[in-house]
């Protein structure tokens, strides 16, 4: 250890990267090595780095990490998550370990053409495919957290769907943290490959017991081949003692479609970086999301849309609701390269501040190098409409209730796009519950 550094997370990383049998890791040694080298040499970003200006890492980095134990779980919480989908192929990780008890059987529970394996236990052919997907994935924000996950991950899934297969039943992936002594770190890595014209829905839920301290660092690499379609839901419900930094890289080939719905409702710190790279013409990316913060939560949403091919369409709509002393960041980049004619790119970010001390920094960015394109972006930060509040009050509705109605309505514009009924109502309830707490604590 370098003398004088009191960097507990860093020292944990140093020690931890040397430990463990090769067979326990998600990735092979040759793929881990470059990432481990990055961990050796690279410093954590400070707030001097433009991309990390708003993201406070101090608390995260000051923590020392305890080993993951896979301890007892809160069955109520798990049941609640299960209820959000009436039918699903379910895969549950508890404190970073796959729980076969709560999951579908990996060998025979899935329909033909759907291949799901644990990253640490891949057959050679799947390993080759999974790692090739990672190697060809791009992240313009090649941050150190991606390398922590690549270097240390022992959890996560490889999901591959064969061509022309459409599966209506969603795949539900639950990450549950329940360690209540010390801080644990979980680093799941998922690789999703959809072959030509196949279709799949994935619902990822991150949750933890109240008070559980976790650093969750998921990395996800998605490859959609021509004509394939993926709908990816990500619901973040972790406790306010957790930090969550995720990286998602999506490659969208010719006429493929990627739809993402992110609901970031938990964590002390959340930073979600999602990048979509169009690798063929006619692709589509639809990104939706809500970030909802209270107390001193920090929620940071990043998107990067790389229109490197002509005739692709991207449509982003993110809404932030910030209360207490919370802070939201939206940083959305749309890059339209010279060859990307007939691009249709839309981006909208709207924010609602429910308290004086809440803050949002929104930074929509458009870089256009092609001339025949349709691009639109806009961002707003505002408060509840006082005229609307008054109108509701004159009908007998109390001010807190009126504020709640208006805020829920603000969120509903996004949530109504969730296509799975039970999931939509679960998300609705989670949002309503949080807003209720906000209203009762502040008004």
């Amino acid at each position: 250890m370098v003398p004088g550094t009191a960097n507990n997370f860093r020292s944990w990383l140093r020690e931890h990267s040397q430990l463990g049998e090769q067979s326990q890791f998600s990735l092979s040694a040759s793929l881990r090595a470059p990432s481990l080298a990055v961990l050796e040499t690279e410093a954590f970003p400070t707030r001097k780095a433009e991309e990390w200006r708003y993201t406070p890492l101090k608390q995260l980095l000051a923590q020392s990490i305890e080993p993951l134990t896979g301890s007892s779980i809160d069955t109520d919480l798990l049941e609640q998550l299960k209820d959000s989908l009436t039918t699903a192929y379910r895969l549950v990780f508890i404190d970073g370990q796959f729980s076969s008890e709560h999951s579908n059987k990996l060998t025979d529970d899935f329909p033909a053409g759907l291949n799901i394996q644990l990253m640490a236990e891949l057959d050679p052919e799947s390993r080759q495919r999974a790692e090739a997907t990672i190697l060809t994935s791009k992240l313009s924000d090649d941050n150190i957290f991606q390398h922590i996950t690549r270097g240390l991950s022992r959890a996560g899934l490889f999901i591959k769907l064969d061509r022309d297969i459409e599966i209506d039943i969603p795949i539900q992936i639950v990450y549950l943290s329940s360690t209540n002594s010390g801080v644990s770190c979980s680093t799941p890595i998922n690789v999703v490959c959809l072959e030509e014209n196949s279709r799949l829905q994935i619902v990822e839920q991150f949750a933890s017991l109240k008070g559980t301290q976790t650093v969750t660092l998921p990395a996800e690499y998605i490859h959609l081949k021509a004509g394939a379609g993926l709908v990816l839901y990500k619901i973040g419900l972790e406790s306010e003692a957790t930090d969550h930094i995720s990286n998602t890289s999506v490659q969208v080939a010719r006429e493929a479609s990627f739809k993402s719905h992110q609901y970031l409702l938990g964590s002390r710190l959340t930073r979600s970086n999602m990048e979509v790279h169009f690798s063929g013409p006619g692709g589509e990316a639809l990104l939706r999301g809500i970030y909802l913060g209270d107390n001193s939560q920090h929620l940071d949403v990043r998107t990067y849309l790389d229109h490197a091919q002509p005739h692709c369409r991207s449509d982003q709509h993110f809404r932030g609701i910030m209360s207490g002393r919370s802070r939201g960041v939206f940083n959305g980049m749309v890059l339209v390269r010279e060859q990307a004619q007939l691009t249709d790119a839309r981006q909208s970010n709207k924010n609602l501040l429910l308290s004086r001390d809440a803050r949002v920094d929104t930074k929509p960015q458009l870089e256009i190098y092609a001339d025949d394109v349709k691009c639109a972006h806009g961002a707003t930060v505002g408060e509840l409409d006082p005229d609307a509040l008054f109108y509701l009050q004159t009908r007998g509705i109390s001010k807190p209730d009126a504020a709640l109605m208006l805020t829920r309505a603000f969120a509903a514009v996004i949530t109504q796009e969730i296509q799975i009924d039970t999931l939509r109502s679960q998300v609705h309830n989670e949002i309503a519950q949080r807003l209720n707490q906000i209203e009762t604590s502040h008004v």
């Binding site: 509701l392 004159t394 109390s398 001010k399 209730d401 829920r408 309505a409």
Partner: protein, 252 residues
């Protein structure tokens, strides 16, 4: 029921109501007329509890309560209703669930049982016939994308459902076609009883053919400068306001 005494109100230090007094008893209909900017909407807003007005002096008693002391929602639950001159659009809030919530808040306050979805739907269907409103407007967000006339009908629908003790109608007739005017007036007449009262703000004598007032008041420069019966409205229709305003200026 309502007793306004020497009310002075200003907005950002600008006096708008300058010693307004008005008595309204159960069963009465009062019409308030007066030139643009004379303070009619301000009166309506102050009575319903809108922020941003400073009451510099005067009192308002409503059913024996100090009205100005109550939060807007409490006034509403006590039976006060304002039909807005410019109803507010509320995106994302469903018209029906909004109205159900409003009614149940008022019922709770009165110690009555809340209506369930079925009973409420029965009630609203009945009242919709009264204002001849299209049913699809119920499924839409409150007032969003409604035409001017549809918004006004929606105000009257809310009034019919909430069944207020004192209703203030701020230019509900403006922007209505002649059929709609008759329907809105018909609604008011059906709701009218010995125990409730209406304050109808209007620019047009025409409305008063349908809603026949017991009293007509002329508001000018924040004060009632003349009160009379419905004949006063006819006279105003013919002669305008100038003669009255000149007279009040010379007399004061």
């Amino acid at each position: 029921m309502l007793s306004i005494k020497d009310l002075h109100v200003s907005v950002e230090d600008k006096p708008i109501l300058n010693g307004l007094s008005l008595e309204v008893k159960p069963g009465e209909i009062h019409a308030i007329m007066g030139p643009n900017g004379s303070g009619k909407s301000t009166l309506a807003h102050v009575l319903s509890g809108r922020d941003g007005y400073t009451i510099t002096s005067g009192t308002v008693q409503y059913k024996g309560l100090d009205l100005l002391d109550l939060a807007p929602e409490i006034r509403a639950r006590e039976g006060l209703f304002l039909a807005f001159q410019y109803p507010i659009e509320i995106p994302g809030v469903n018209n029906t669930s909004f109205l159900k919530k409003a009614l149940n808040e008022i019922r709770k306050h009165r110690g009555e049982e809340e209506l369930d979805a079925i009973d409420f739907l029965g009630l609203i269907k009945k009242q919709m016939k009264l204002v001849e409103m299209k049913e699809d407007l119920l499924k839409r967000p409150v007032n969003q994308g409604f035409s001017g006339g549809e918004k006004k009908r929606n105000e009257i629908l809310q009034m019919a459902v909430l069944n207020p003790t004192l209703a203030i109608l701020d230019e509900t007739d403006s922007g209505l076609d002649i059929d709609a005017l008759r329907i809105v007036a018909g609604g008011v007449n059906k709701l009218r009883s010995e125990s409730n009262a209406f304050v109808v703000i209007t620019h047009y004598q025409r409305l008063l053919d349908y809603i026949v007032p017991d009293f007509v008041h002329v508001l000018s420069n924040g004060r009632i400068i003349r009160s009379g019966t419905k004949e006063l409205a006819l006279e105003l229709e013919e002669r305008g306001y100038d003669w009255l305003i000149e007279k009040s200026e010379t007399s004061s």
